[in-house]
């Protein structure tokens, strides 16, 4: 088909639904229980993906049941949202409305699960769980962390697996993925974590019937595993839906190295058909398993981790809604956590923040005056570092058209004149009694000219705002 046909041969995509379409089905009482100004405002935020339908409480009453169902269908994403994990700590995977993030926005950042297995020596097992739950990184003021544990059965023994699941459940409240191809083993695992609602991994060509029974019995979502075989994957999905299992997560197989193109092709084909044609069999979340790199005969662990890092990042970009990884090394995980965070930010959000002066802490008349650009990520980084170090200061945010410090200096958007103009506009001259300005280290070359034009003494700050606290400790207040 042509690209234009691909755009039109589907049911109404999220971008074509107007707030009116939604408003018509809402109670229309403007009760404001959703905290929006009125039903129309609520409808607008719903089609923008900024608020979920269930925030409209009257809609959940029996009276509006029919309207609720209609709205649910109207707004259903082409990729189903599937939830697993214990109540209060569950994760939702999938729920994607579009193929490319710029078309709307991606919802439900892909959880990253790390594996343990049931034959791991006790101390290693517990240590791993502690490292998984303890891993976090502060990125622009947000704490990024790992989200689930995949418990693998390597023993083949139901009792051993049961014990392992019990042990993990006792140690942490993260959502679990139980991985065992043998239904007897799976059953043992499921019975030892009854209220955890784990994801069952996985139904395949051989075990699908028993796995489907277990999924129905325990009301758990079910993964479907058909490595490198899309016809089989479709066949399994159709059969499982017919069986009554509705919450499915698909694993088309993660192949790295000489199989990487198959992996990217399969993930892409599945997600494209789901989003462009509302294909019902492919409209489920996808699991990427970068951990499969550990199956090969490569001996060097460092090379395996490198491959796992590379594969994971590509799968995050190419539609994996859930990842299972083995490496716990920070250099492998950090880029994944940051890329996931970035990929799932709202692309409609502008690249720049408002220019002007910001106040941090309780600055006085002798507090430092700092300067940065209005590129959003630059600003958030500086803001987060100032807050983390509890610095009382004024921060002048200069309009560089949303460019970072380095680009703005190179492109001459950040220059002595623009610094002088923002100093004047900021009104900071009335807020402090000194005339000392700290400019970013990456703008060092502007210092001389800036002193001449502004009449302020210019201090060249650190190249990276992580060094602000140390810099101010050593250099502030400046010698007269």
């Amino acid at each position: 088909m042509t690209a234009a046909e691909a755009e039109t041969t589907r049911k109404k995509g999220i971008r074509e639904i107007s707030p009116i379409d939604v408003y018509k089905l809402l109670p229309g009482t403007n009760c404001r229980e959703c905290r929006e100004a009125n039903c129309m405002a609520f409808a607008t935020r719903v089609v923008n993906g900024e608020i979920v339908l269930s925030e409209c409480l009257p809609l959940l009453t029996p009276e509006f049941r029919a309207a609720f169902l209609k709205l649910t269908e109207l707004l259903a994403p082409p990729v189903k949202a599937v939830t697993f994990g214990p109540a209060g700590n569950e994760v939702t995977v999938g729920g994607k409305y579009v193929l490319q993030r710029h078309e709307f926005t991606y919802h439900n950042p892909s959880p990253i699960a790390i594996d343990v297995h049931d034959l791991m020596p006790e101390t290693e097992f517990l240590d791993r769980i502690r490292r998984i739950t303890g891993f976090s990184y502060n990125y622009i003021g947000r704490s990024l962390s790992l989200n689930a544990i995949a418990i693998r059965c390597t023993s083949g023994d139901p009792d051993t697996f049961r014990d392992a699941v019990k042990k993990v459940s006792g140690e942490c409240s993260l959502p679990l993925i139980l991985c065992a191809p043998d239904p007897r083993v799976m059953e043992a695992g499921l019975t030892s974590c009854r209220d955890r609602r784990p994801l069952i991994y996985a139904a395949d060509e051989k075990n699908w019937k028993q796995m489907a029974e277990l999924a129905l019995q325990h009301r758990c979502p079910l993964a479907v595993f058909a490595p490198g075989d899309l016809p089989l994957l479709r066949s399994l999905v159709r059969t499982l839906i017919a069986y009554g299992v509705e919450d499915l997560v698909l694993d088309p197989g993660t192949f790295s190295s000489d199989g990487i193109s198959s992996t990217i092709d399969n993930f892409t084909a599945i997600r494209t058909q789901a989003c462009r044609t509302f294909d019902p069999l492919f409209g489920f979340p996808l699991i990427g398993v970068p951990m499969t790199v550990w199956c090969g005969d490569e001996i060097s662990e460092e090379v395996l981790r490198w491959k796992e890092a590379v594969t994971a990042s590509m799968l995050l970009s190419r539609y994996a809604d859930l990842l299972i990884m083995h490496s716990l090394e920070g250099w492998v995980l950090l880029p994944q956590l940051i890329w996931r965070f970035s990929l799932y930010t709202d692309p409609r959000k502008p690249v720049s923040v408002e220019a002007g002066v910001r106040t941090f802490g309780k600055p006085g008349r002798s507090s430092p005056v700092l300067l940065t650009t209005n590129y959003a990520l630059t600003y958030f980084t500086v803001e987060s570092d100032i807050k983390a170090a509890s610095i009382d200061c004024y921060l002048i945010v200069i309009d560089t058209g949303g460019l970072s410090v380095e680009s703005a200096v190179a492109g001459r958007y950040l220059n002595a004149e623009s610094i002088a103009a923002s100093l004047a506009d900021s009104g900071v001259t009335d807020l402090v009694s000194h005339r000392n300005l700290v400019i970013p280290g990456l703008a060092a070359r502007l210092s001389g000219e800036a002193e001449e034009v502004t009449g302020w003494k210019v201090l060249v700050g650190p190249k990276d705002s992580s060094g602000l606290a140390q810099f101010l400790k050593a250099r502030w207040p400046p010698e007269p």
């Binding site: 019937k209 479709r234 159709r238 017919a242 193109s261 190419r318 920070g330």
Partner: protein, 411 residues
């Protein structure tokens, strides 16, 4: 990259056996010799679509009644092939003796007919080309980058030679940082001499980077363009600031007159990119324009770069002629992220690994958004990008047997 020259071929099998060497490169133990590594384009089998499929035989059937099936219900998979009305132009970098230059070969980039790796039935087109950076003066580099090039810093010709011989660069990107009026303000004549030395040191195509000052760059590019007549250099870059400073016209005209290409640089904004290209069309054929839509580091806005490239490529394929140009990514920019060079707590791993993997992921992420040519630095990032770019778009070995039992692996 075209594969018509046998010395320019990378054999997939051979490169796979080299994988463990990534490790050694990371440790700076030794560099990879790419002399005998070839890729054989002629061997690739391309799936030719037998027809476009617009409907799914099973998709519109009513759901079966809820009787639990006893057997697997058979299903088929019909690939969805989407065709696009337009394609991205091809651009040829570098000129051989036969075409008026002195390079041993030229490199063709662009030509995409579908979004990157979106559909195996579309020919993958030209492989992305990789340029390695060279600076004309001592610049601040993270330690992990510096240790690979320590002995050639300050000697652009030697540095260029090392990039080609040791690290297998397809092109060399010379950055004339010293011409910046706020740094060393070296003269256009000196800059041209540096470029001349690099042209003599290596025989691959060259990218020439200015300092970003619209007036100074114009003087430098004019001088370089005349000196290297016929070489099909890529002048990095021309901007809307140049248009404002009234220096765009002379640079574009010099590029046209002396047979070079321009890199049209804009900051994450497609309207600006289109406007700049429109202005350039007055002076240059569109086949001489490559776009730089800005590469931001992972953690500092890579998602903006990712989406701008996805949008640009889709618009180009849907018929927006002003965006039908190959795109470049300066993946070296990844090193701007603090996570690449900062010493961090042990749980975040050593920066010796964090840095290279950052550049690699930066480059690979944008590869999926359609990058045609790169400017890079770390050998392990270059190695991995080349390896994966060579595999994507070719039929993969989805060996189910190898991964089927991943659950039971004892690691």
């Amino acid at each position: 990259m075209t594969g018509d020259d046998p010395t320019n071929r990378i054999d997939g099998e051979r490169i796979r056996t080299l994988a463990p060497q990534i490790l050694e490169m990371l440790q700076g133990v030794r560099q990879l010799e790419l002399d005998n590594v070839t890729i054989d384009i002629g061997d690739l089998e391309l799936f030719i679509p037998v027809g476009a499929f617009s409907h799914f035989p099973n998709a519109d059937q009513a759901p079966p009644a809820r009787v639990k099936p006893a057997e697997l219900i058979p299903e088929q998979y019909i690939p969805l092939s989407v065709s696009y009305p337009a394609k991205v132009r091809e651009v040829v970098l570098g000129a051989t003796k036969a075409s008026g230059g002195s390079r041993c070969r030229s490199i063709t980039i662009g030509g995409a007919t579908a979004p990157a790796y979106s559909d195996p039935t579309h020919p993958a087109g030209n492989l992305p080309a990789i340029a390695l950076d060279v600076f004309d003066m001592e610049v601040q580099l993270p330690k992990v980058l510096k240790e690979n090039v320590r002995e050639v810093i300050g000697d652009p010709a030697e540095w260029a030679r090392m990039n080609v011989r040791k690290f297998g660069a397809d092109l060399v990107a010379v950055h004339l940082t010293s011409t910046d009026p706020l740094i060393r303000d070296s003269s256009p004549r000196e800059a041209a001499k540096t470029v001349e030395e690099v042209l003599q040191a290596v025989d691959v195509p060259i990218i020439v980077g200015g300092c970003g000052d619209p007036k100074k760059d114009a003087l430098v590019f004019a001088e370089v363009a005349a000196m290297a007549e016929g070489e099909r250099l890529l002048l990095n870059s021309v901007t809307l600031d140049m248009a404002e400073a009234k220096t765009l016209e002379p640079v574009a005209k010099a590029a046209e007159r002396y047979g070079h290409l321009v890199l049209a640089f804009t900051g994450l904004d497609l309207n600006s990119a289109k406007e700049l290209n429109r202005r350039l069309y007055e002076y240059l054929p569109p086949e001489r324009i490559v776009m730089d839509l800005t590469t931001v580091a992972l953690g500092y806005g890579l998602e903006y770069s990712f989406s701008i490239h996805e949008r640009a490529r889709y618009a180009a394929l849907m018929g927006d002629t002003e965006l039908q140009h190959p795109v470049i990514s300066a993946s070296t920019n990844a090193w701007g992220a603090r996570e690449t060079w900062m010493k961090m707590a042990p749980e975040y791993g050593s920066r010796e690994l964090r840095g290279p993997v950052w550049e690699t992921i930066n480059a690979l992420t944008l590869l999926l958004a359609g990058i045609d040519i790169y400017m890079m630095m770390h050998p392990a990032a270059v190695f991995t990008l080349r390896d994966i770019a060579g595999r994507l778009g070719t039929p993969g070995n989805a060996d189910a047997a190898r991964i089927r039992d991943w659950v039971g692996v004892r690691v």
